[in-house]
């Protein structure tokens, strides 16, 4: 786990609260993430994990508390939001690739339009990234022609093309057939080893044990418990954590 000076903190969340109508979905979340740290966030369905990581790139707005990402506090200022979004990559459960664009265009689009890179540079970078996620030969196909695992790897390449400082993963393997989960986890593991700051909502406990620096257990819109993987697996402090782990580990 990355240990460093307080200046190393890349995400700071203090007392984050959010309501959907009158439903209190996030109830005072406090979380600090250091540069290069890999977090696995887990917990029961509907506990607010997705909502929480989506507040970090402001796909969801929080209504009380503070979120500071890479030194910029999230507010309603649009320029702040777009600055942060281009520093934070996100991978969704349902891939959300752009079906009308080729794989290469999916990956090179944002660098060209947001970073204003020339096409040559964006496409070259895109090809390198596709090689890195193991599918260089699929560049000219369309997303609909790829398997789920390949699509999710394109989605990771697309997010990485913006050279983000932070990557958010929202259940990246939940929509995949079992035989394709590994190819995606391998890419994520490689990314973690390269020093990327990662927040992963996932229930892949093998990945958590092998790769995570810290695990965060979410329930009912709150962080119930967090710690290193062996501490969470071998010696969970809360009954809720114990119960949940026993359910997903059988």
């Amino acid at each position: 786990m990355a240990q460093g000076t307080p200046g190393d903190e890349i995400i700071i969340c203090r007392d984050v609260n959010k309501w959907f109508g009158s439903f209190h979905v996030l109830r005072g979340v406090d979380l600090t993430v250091k540069k290069g740290e890999v977090l696995v966030i887990f917990g029961p369905s509907g506990s607010g994990k997705s909502t929480f990581i989506r507040t970090i790139n402001r796909l969801e707005e929080h209504q009380r508390g503070t979120i500071i990402v890479d030194g910029i506090e999230l507010s309603n200022d649009i320029r702040n939001i777009e600055a942060i979004r281009s520093e934070v990559g996100m991978v969704f459960q349902s891939f959300n690739l752009f079906p009308h664009l080729s794989v290469l265009d999916n990956v090179s689009l944002a660098p060209m339009w947001v970073r204003k890179w020339p096409r040559d540079k964006a496409e070259q970078t895109a090809r390198e990234l596709l090689k890195r996620v193991g599918i260089p030969e699929q560049a000219d196909k369309y997303p609909g022609q790829l398997s789920g695992g390949q699509q999710q790897r394109v989605a990771i390449a697309r997010a990485l093309a913006m050279q983000p400082k932070i990557m958010l993963f929202d259940e990246p393997t939940s929509a995949l057939d079992p035989e394709m989960i590994k190819e995606v986890l391998d890419v994520m593991t490689q990314l973690a080893k390269s020093g990327m700051t990662m927040l992963c909502v996932t229930h892949e406990m093998g990945f958590a044990r092998g790769v995570a620096d810290r695990m965060v257990f979410f329930d009912n819109g709150q962080i119930i418990e967090q710690g290193k993987p062996n501490q969470i697996f071998d010696n969970p402090q809360h009954d809720r954590t114990k119960l949940f782990l026993s359910q997903i580990l059988h």
Binding site: N57, L59, E82, R85, S86, V88, G89, M90, F92, S94, N96, L97, F98, P99, H100, L109, A110, W113, V114, Y142, P143, G144, A155, R158, A159, M162
Partner: protein, 392 residues
């Protein structure tokens, strides 16, 4: 005994003409009855058609051909219309070479039509003009072989309507002005259809996007406009545009009737296009928007690069259907006094010299409308296939 390698022939009755007949036309008692009924109907239709075509006298069409094509456009200026046709033929030839596919088929169809018309007993000059256009088609093809940059040809296509409009209207150099109120026939039908389509489409997209806007004022305005226009018949919109619209203009400003009716058409069709495009917009999942936002694309980029291309692609068939309606509905402007193809037909029918020849006139203009509509739907089917609607 048959081994695996033996090929087994199908039973006799299921192949060949008799097999086909039995399977498709006489498979059951009811099917046989329907087949006989259909044959009887076809027979009567043929008799009727034969009766018409064997006695038809096309003099009414040939004598009024110039009226049908260009209305009351002055005869000494008619070369300007002919130049416009030639510009289009030239560009079509070039596009045939540059793009192939649908452009090639259109090129072949137009070339074939020109040759066919040149074989008919028109005056020598007209036949030379028609053959000259066949030559231009070839020259365009050749030009595109030399200069193969598609961008150039796209730019020329986009430029051509403005060049043609300027040429037809005149008022510069030594060209006298030909007011649009003198334009008529097929020329006017085309002007209506092309400007109507070219303007109502972007306007419709704008209204559809506005209807989804998060700014209430914009949203309400778009909803009000769309629902208001969709709630009244086209003919009332045309009357409003031609009769009421001038009242709102400042003193001294006049807008020609043709331009006012085009405005009416655009206003009407845009509302329908907006509803079609809105359907396409709604079919796009929230995930697309979120993925684009998460990459840092701003809302305008997201709309332009991600949402609209998908939305429009999925509604191409419906939009083309709307364009076909517009093309046919141009015949309604006759009611507000613009003599396009149908209006001309109506006036030709009244000519003393050709009393009782209305069927020929109607068949003639119906054929023209049909060719136009069919070309559009055919092009749309090809486009759909190329863009893979329903696949990706």
């Amino acid at each position: 005994m048959a081994t695996v390698t033996d090929t087994i022939k199908p039973p006799r009755s299921s192949v060949g003409p008799t097999g086909w007949l039995r399977k498709n036309l006489f498979s059951s008692w009811l099917n046989s009855l329907l087949t006989i009924l259909a044959l009887w109907l076809i027979y009567n239709l043929m008799i009727g058609l034969w009766g018409f075509f064997s006695t038809a006298q096309w003099g009414v069409v040939t004598a009024n051909l110039r009226l049908f094509m260009a209305g009351r456009y002055p005869i000494e200026q008619i070369w300007r219309v002919e130049v416009c046709v030639s510009i289009l033929v030239f560009l079509l030839g070039a596009s045939w070479r540059a793009w192939g596919g649908i452009m090639g088929q259109m090129g072949m169809a137009v070339g074939g039509l020109l040759v066919l018309l040149a074989l008919l007993p028109f005056e020598t000059n007209s036949r030379l003009y028609l053959l000259g256009n066949v030559g231009l088609l070839a020259i365009g093809f050749g030009a595109a072989s030399l200069i193969r940059t598609r961008r150039l040809w796209t730019a020329l296509w986009l430029l051509s309507p403005f060049v043609m409009a300027a040429l037809l209207y005149g008022g510069f150099a030594d060209l006298p002005v030909v007011a649009t109120d003198l334009w008529g026939g097929l020329l006017l039908t085309f002007v209506f259809a092309v400007t109507g389509i070219a303007l109502s489409f972007p306007l419709g997209v704008l209204l559809a996007v506005g209807r989804q806007s998060s700014y209430p004022v914009i949203r309400w305005f778009c909803i009000l406009y769309i629902e208001l226009v969709r709630g009244v018949p086209l003919i009332t919109v045309l009357f409003a545009a031609t009769l009421l619209f001038p009242i709102f203009l400042p003193e001294g400003v006049t807008v020609e009737r043709v331009v006012r009716s085009i405005a009416g058409f655009v206003a009407f069709t845009a509302a329908y296009n907006a509803e079609i495009v809105r359907g396409g917009l709604q079919a796009i999942g929230r995930g697309q928007n979120e993925a684009a936002m998460a990459l840092g694309l701003n809302p305008l980029q997201t709309l332009w690069l991600i949402i609209l291309p998908q939305a429009i692609r999925s509604v191409i068939p419906a939009i083309v259907g709307q364009f076909v309606s517009l093309f046919k509905d141009t015949s309604l402007v006759a009611i507000v006094g613009a003599l396009e193809l149908a209006g001309i037909a109506n006036s030709v029918i009244q000519q003393q010299a050709f009393l009782g020849r209305q069927t020929e006139v109607i068949v003639f203009i119906a054929a023209i409308y049909f060719v136009g509509c069919y070309a559009m739907t055919y092009a749309s089917r090809r486009l759909e296939k190329r863009l893979g609607v329903g696949e990706r």
